[in-house]
Amino acid sequence: MIAAMEEKEILEKVSAVVSAVLKREVKLSPATAAADVDGWDSLSHMMIINGIEQKFSLRFKLKEVMAFGNAGDLVACIAGKLKE
């Protein structure tokens, strides 16, 4: 339950970063993929990943970002790193 709440909070923070980069409100669900979000292209992707790393004070490994199929994967990775 606690883990689920943590992930919900992380998802909201990630949504805020995506919204800031894309300059419009974006609400992500765990199933949302980058391709589902208008404007989340290869350029904004770099800004979004960088923004998320800054927001959570962490650094993704290449194999981690390559495994992000959707927002749920991203959130799970962040949650895991925050527990380290």
């Binding site: 980058a34 391709a35 292209d41 290869s42 350029l43 992707h45 770099m46 800004m47 990943i49 960088n50 290449l62 970002v65 390559m66 199929g69």
Partner: protein, 218 residues
Amino acid sequence: MDITIRRATEADKDFLVMAITEAEKSGSDTISYCAMFSITGEEFRGLVSNILDEDMNGQEMCISNFLIAEVDGERAATLGTWIEGMDGMSSNMIKSNMLLYFLDRDKVLNAAENIRLVSETNIHKETNTLQVEFGYTDARFRGLGLFARLLNEHIRVNMERYDWLNKVQSRPLKSNISSIKAHEKVGFSYVSEQRCTNSDILKILPSDTRILMERKLK
């Protein structure tokens, strides 16, 4: 004269770095990545080398996606292909992840405007199509039809594995006449073009227009 075509291996990395660097110049003296990210030629070659080390499929800088043509045992030409989006992630997105990981973070972020300009010349890569990038032939071996041999071998191998493939695509810059002619010679036709209207693009690329060329496989 003995010509052989084989799959590239790690031992070919230096040749591939040189070939990618030459191909990236698109017939000019400028490496677009250097202009885009404010990096030196040496830094660019280091970047390519690092990306090749990952051997990550689904994008253009993957060692195992290159074929090498040897003439009398000497590396003479190379060509890379991959199938776009087959594993669910676009090649552009994979490349973004690589750049973010291997380039100095500030250089990537400072290049946002340049990337945006270059992306105005981008032509969408259709998922599940065979994509061609980084064709290179050593000047000493031009005129031997190596590009055609490499391309046909890529098509043969990929069609054998993925019989649903129906087209192969390439995106030369409009200024790269020799590349366009080489593609036409092996059956590619002009499909469309994408132009960036901001003249600053010419500080990064040798042309403001990219061309989509295609060859039907079925």
